[in-house]
């Protein structure tokens, strides 16, 4: 029982942090926002130069063979800069294939995903039907769906790898509030899918990885929102005083820190529980997703408020945090849904 990072983990975290602070600049992110919400150079750098995209993928598939704790450190660092990257797609698709794919499927796709040469996303929908390997149905609100070259798509009965280029695959890009992760609608009309060996395991692994990813992003974003506001509080003067000297302002900052520290416990509890496959994993995951998302929303909202007028401008980065936070709150099950899962574990289903 040791709830601190190992030296290796600390190093990964610091490397990732340094990388994103240096490269995921506001200017580059805004340029990605103006196109499809992916900073391609950043993605290449992350996957190839940094070589960390496959942190959770076994070495035989080109990964590092580490775990969710290490991945959470990366997502936290990327989230802190609101980096425009298909991170959640990578996390979900790679874990799905890893957990439910055949050896051939793993060998065919994981190296490509990990190297960044193929962008993958993953989505589930109850509305999709399969006749053999022919799929028909609609997947709504697929993050970075319009940029993906391959999809891992699932329903209650199974999961399939579907290539963007296959006949019958139609993707509609949407202008999305969070421009760093535009949503798309993916429609399949008798499209060919390559069925995964264990679709249920794949989708479960995808969900878990997705929750950890966005929760860690939220943690990073919330902490960065606090850090930037703290910096502003020291420099901005109103009424002849640094605004950080106003007690009400200080207390708002303290409240952010109180939430963030809990979110940090939640995210790494969940990541570590995933790596150790401990029995409280479901509780940890629902806690992490719901708590970290709410923390981020609060902190990003406070970031705007505590910056005053400037925080409400397009020019300032506060809105990037705010919109990412909102997106994380609503994606992959909203807070009430996750808490209801927790309630069901404790209280049983509602009558």
């Amino acid at each position: 029982m040791e709830f601190v990072f190992t030296e290796e983990q600390q190093m990964i975290g610091e490397t990732a942090k340094g990388f994103f602070v240096e490269n995921a600049t506001s200017k580059r992110t805004r340029s990605a926002m103006a196109s499809d919400g992916i900073d391609r150079d950043l993605w290449t750098g992350f996957c190839q130069e940094l070589g960390l995209a496959g942190v959770t993928v076994p070495e035989i598939y080109g990964g590092a063979g580490l775990g969710q704790v290490e991945f959470a450190l990366l997502a936290e660092a990327a989230g802190a800069q609101v980096a425009a990257l298909p991170m959640v797609g990578l996390a979900m698709a790679s874990q799905a294939i890893l957990a439910g794919g055949t050896d051939a499927q793993k060998a065919a796709w994981l190296p490509k995903l990990v190297s960044g040469s193929v962008i993958a996303v993953c989505a589930g929908s109850a509305d999709v039907t399969a006749q053999g390997d022919s799929l028909t149905g609609t997947f709504e609100f697929v993050p970075h769906g319009a940029s993906a070259e391959v999809f891992v798509l699932g329903n209650d009965a199974g999961a399939w790898i579907v290539e963007r280029s296959a006949p019958g695959v139609e993707v509609t890009a949407h202008v999305t509030m969070d421009q760093t992760r535009p949503l798309a609608t993916v429609t399949l009309r008798n499209a060919h899918g390559d069925k995964l060996a264990d679709g249920a395991a794949a989708m479960r692994a995808a969900r878990e990885a997705g929750w950890i990813c966005v929760a860690a992003e939220a943690l990073g974003g919330a902490q960065e929102a606090l850090d930037r506001t703290v910096a502003y509080a020291k420099e901005r003067v109103q009424f002849g005083r640094a605004i950080g000297s106003f007690q009400a302002y200080k207390h708002r900052l303290a409240d952010m820190m109180i939430e963030i520290e809990q979110a940090r416990s939640a995210v790494y509890w969940a990541a570590c529980a995933a790596d150790e496959q401990s029995s409280d994993l479901p509780l940890a995951l629902h806690a992490a997703k719901s708590f970290a998302a709410d923390t981020y929303a609060k902190c990003a909202g406070d970031m705007i408020q505590l910056h005053g007028g400037i925080g409400f401008t397009w020019e300032h980065d506060a809105h990037l945090f705010f919109k990412r936070a909102r997106a994380i709150q609503s994606m992959l099950g909203n807070g009430n849904w996750h808490r209801e899962q927790v309630a069901s574990m404790i209280l049983g289903e509602a009558a």
Partner: protein, 392 residues
């Protein structure tokens, strides 16, 4: 105490409704239902001219300035029927609600004659030059300078958050006219024409993609010597008087806008099935109660004629509506879910509810942040010690 309306007042309500509905079904059909501030601005100026012609523009003003000297109840009724008929808000709301009443209270007869008819008719659009980059919530630390040169004021400096400056004709400016003065002393309140070489407007794009606010730069901007309201050095007093008008009958019009937003949310909840979710039901009920309490709070503050005592309803009104509306934006998004994060077209443009979510983040900032509001409430309302100024 009386909350209902008399038979005569109900008769007045019918008169208002008939006329407004007639207009919106007839000549001004094309502007019915517009909810943004600036859409079809030119047509809306024509509409405001029409209001003025029929003496419906500023019914609370004295008759000699085109008003009807309307009672409070009549003003309430008109505001309600105006919104109910789907009439768009006033393009010149700053002129009608702030500049006009300020002129009525503090202007000379010449100034009243010069400005009031144009304001009433939507011809003289005003914006407000209070905030500065270094003094967002702190009017007393204004640094824009004004000096009298011969028969002209010459103004240099910068204002920010000048809402609607880009469609305005005039701006009222609080500036420092006494060299070396500090705080609320030495300020002067000027009315300046915007269309002149010394004034430059730069729009500020907001987080919702719109640009309703502006930066306004003054470089030897000029106005005639008699453009000042009150006396030289009385700028603080005039500005404070003006801010009091923000809590006038116009709040009722603003509330009718809130009503529309909440009604949209209720409709969305029914459409999405969220109306069956007990958590959403509680929040909608709270929102409804909050809106009703704003209405009755406004009634209390408008009915109050005893200005010798602190008016708690008035003092707490700003933070109340701003916080309520911010919560409303969050409720809206929770009801519509991820669909609210997707724009309808190809542009970064938002329909009413997502826009409410984004835009309402500014409600708790402009016109005095929630933090400043709490200071005011504690200090003026409860006699707590004032926050000390620093000397940085």
């Amino acid at each position: 105490m009386k909350l209902g309306f008399s038979a005569a007042e109900e008769e007045f309500r019918r008169e208002c409704a008939d006329w407004l509905n007639g207009q919106m079904a007839g000549e001004f059909k094309d502007i019915k239902g517009i909810t943004t501030l600036t859409e079809k601005a030119e047509r809306r100026k024509e509409w405001e001219q029409q209001l003025a012609t029929h003496k419906w523009s500023c019914i609370g003003w004295p008759e000699e300035w085109g008003g009807r000297n309307a009672t409070l109840a009549q003003q309430v009724i008109f505001a309600e029927e105006y919104a109910r008929a789907g009439v768009p808000g006033r393009v010149n709301h700053i002129g009608v609600e702030l500049a006009g009443p300020t002129l009525l209270a503090f202007g000379t007869d010449a100034q009243k004659k010069r400005f009031l008819p144009g304001i009433a008719a939507g011809q003289t659009i005003f914006c407000q030059g209070f905030s500065e980059p270094g003094a967002g919530s702190d009017l007393a630390s204004v640094r824009t300078k004004a000096r009298l040169e011969g028969d002209e004021w010459v103004v240099n400096g910068q204002k920010i958050w000048t809402s609607l400056a880009h469609i305005s004709d005039w701006i009222f400016v609080v500036s420092r006219s006494e060299e070396g003065s500090k705080g609320p002393k030495g300020l002067t309140f000027l009315m300046m024409e915007i269309d002149q070489p010394g004034i430059e407007i730069r729009p500020i794009k907001q987080i919702n993609g719109d640009a309703e606010f502006n930066e306004t730069f003054f470089a030897d901007a000029k106005c005639p010597a008699d453009s000042l309201i009150g006396a030289v050095g009385e700028g603080w007093k005039i500005a404070m008087g003006l801010l009091a008008f923000e809590r006038g009958v116009s709040t009722l019009g603003q509330q009718m806008g809130f009503r529309n937003e909440l009604d949209d949310i209720i409709a969305a909840a029914k459409a999405t099935g969220a109306a069956n979710d007990p958590l959403i039901r509680q929040r909608i009920a709270k929102a409804e109660i909050g809106l009703q309490l704003m209405r009755y709070g406004a009634m209390r503050m408008l009915s109050n004629t005893d200005h010798s005592k602190i008016d708690g309803a008035a003092l707490t009104y700003k933070i109340q509506w701003a916080s309520w509306r911010r919560g409303l934006g969050e409720l809206a998004m929770d009801i519509i879910g991820q669909a609210g994060e997707v724009a309808e077209g190809d542009a970064y443009e938002w329909s009413m509810l997502p826009n409410l979510f984004l835009y309402s983040r500014s409600d708790t900032i402009y016109g005095g942040t929630n933090q400043i509001q709490r200071n005011l409430i504690a200090e003026r309302g409860l006699g707590m010690p004032r926050e000390p100024r620093g000397d940085v």
